[in-house]
Symmetry: C2
Subunit: 256 residues, 2 copies
DNA sequence: ATTGTCTATATTGTAAACAGTATGGATGCC
DNA sequence: GGCATCCATACTGTTTACAATATAGACAAT
């Protein structure tokens, strides 16, 4: 029993009353698989600075559409992880020498502050997390280059997490990625990103609540990283996109 | 005299050799008029947190197309200046109380560092710029609220510029915007963003190369800003409800 | 009055076709 | 052989139309 259709209705509604958005699904584009895939590919150095990120190829590699890819690339361009050139496409960002130095300087400032804050608010849970990570880093397979890179990055992220400031955590994440790009652009071939002993030392100082010591160690650690790069630029070959993302996808599926 | 059309051509070209992008027009989306318009509207507090940013209306207001608007909004969402909710649209970002505190903490860390760096590399040009700004700020019309807000923001940007680190400058810009949003969300009505005397003091300390004094003054200045906001919210209801039902759920699980 | 359900409208999201631009070889000329 | 020009291709950028979803009022029932 359908009711009669409404008879009176203004053809144009008056300005609708504004309703605030509240408690809604807050899924960010950062969780997007395409964004994550490209980010991990970069942090694992499978994607090198200057590599072209063709829209069609990415769409095929990820099994999605071009629009989706464009959105992801635009987001990464906003974060200075890819560079978009009009009518030519998107490329993995290649920082200038000056920018690389600025990135390291920014990390010294932010990460010395985060390590201090981490010590201030260190509790049982934090200690456990830190110990757990240090064990994983100690006993990991040093021949698995990709796992190595992921683990060393995770240490710095963990410290930022322990500091308990989400804004600084985001900034640290961003700076770490850009550090990867800076190192990939200017590294001498064959050297690791982090000296292998630095993390256990810093971790121990945090656990001992030696604030001055930890700050100094972190400062020195980042200085050491910076001293491994040189203003020469060598442009390497670029790997095939499909192969990279197929393997990353397989790993993600295996891990999940 | 047109030549005969080429007769032999492989239907599919072999993978084209990769050419690196070099020395190209590097116009960023940050220069986009839509992005700039929304940013200045926010920093001048004409757009308040939670305000809806409809695509069609913006397109009409700026005299452009929806796609263009979408790109701009996506960029601003990446920078956490607007919040995008699926199928509902874009809104001016409204930080949580915790996030607001984190923003101020981050600013204390970064801006004390920038003010120190600014003193270290202060030269004639820098001194002149600083003096010029201080004069403008001293003699500006205090009744023009929008000019006031722009000027006070420019002071902090100028200090970041003098520090000579572009990465930190970007971060400061971003944090200042998010500070505007935090203040707009939690301010007591009628109070200004910055205390009017702080900037001349800090500027004088920089010119006198008093590093410790300038750092302390900047730290105090940002603390003062933070103390003007209060966690009062009109929408505590939502949190209350979720808290209630979370507890009920916990009881149910405990009973079952 | 309050609540629930329905529907037209508004608005956002997506797909596909089209247009514009760069690219890399091929051609022709010197 | 070296160099400028030209064109087919591939790619990016934009427009258009359409589909999916949310919104706010109207009506009905309690």
């Amino acid at each position: 029993m359908k009711r009669s259709r409404p008879l009176k209705r203004k053809p144009k509604r008056p300005e609708p009353k504004h309703r605030e958005p509240e408690a809604v699904d807050l899924r960010s584009i950062d969780d997007d698989p395409v964004v994550q895939g490209i980010l991990t590919a970069i942090s694992q150095k499978r994607l090198k600075p200057g590599a072209k990120l063709g829209e069609d190829k990415l769409a095929a590699a990820f099994g999605t559409t071009r629009i989706h890819i464009r959105q992801a690339l635009a987001h990464l361009a906003s974060r200075k992880v890819v560079m978009q050139i009009p009518n030519r496409g998107a490329f993995v960002y290649r920082p200038s020498w000056e920018e690389a130095q600025d990135i390291f300087a920014a990390r010294r400032i932010i990460e010395t502050a985060t390590v201090a804050a981490a010590i201030d608010r260190l509790d049982k849970t934090g200690k456990a997390e830190l110990k757990a990570h240090m064990e994983r880093e100690a006993r990991h397979d040093r021949n698995d280059r990709w796992a190595s890179l992921s683990l060393t990055a995770e240490f710095h992220i963990l410290v930022a997490k322990l500091a308990g400031n989400r804004v600084l955590l985001e900034m640290s994440r961003e700076l770490m990625l850009r550090t990867s790009l800076a190192i990939a652009t200017f590294e001498q071939p064959g050297e690791p990103d982090c000296s292998p002993d630095a993390h256990p030392d810093i971790g121990a100082l945090i656990l001992a609540r030696d604030k001055a010591g930890a700050i100094h160690a972190m400062h020195h650690h980042i200085e050491e990283m910076e001293q491994r790069i040189r203003p020469q630029e060598g442009k390497g070959e670029v790997d095939e996109l499909t192969a990279i993302f197929q393997e990353i996808g397989a790993r993600a599926r295996a891990a999940g």
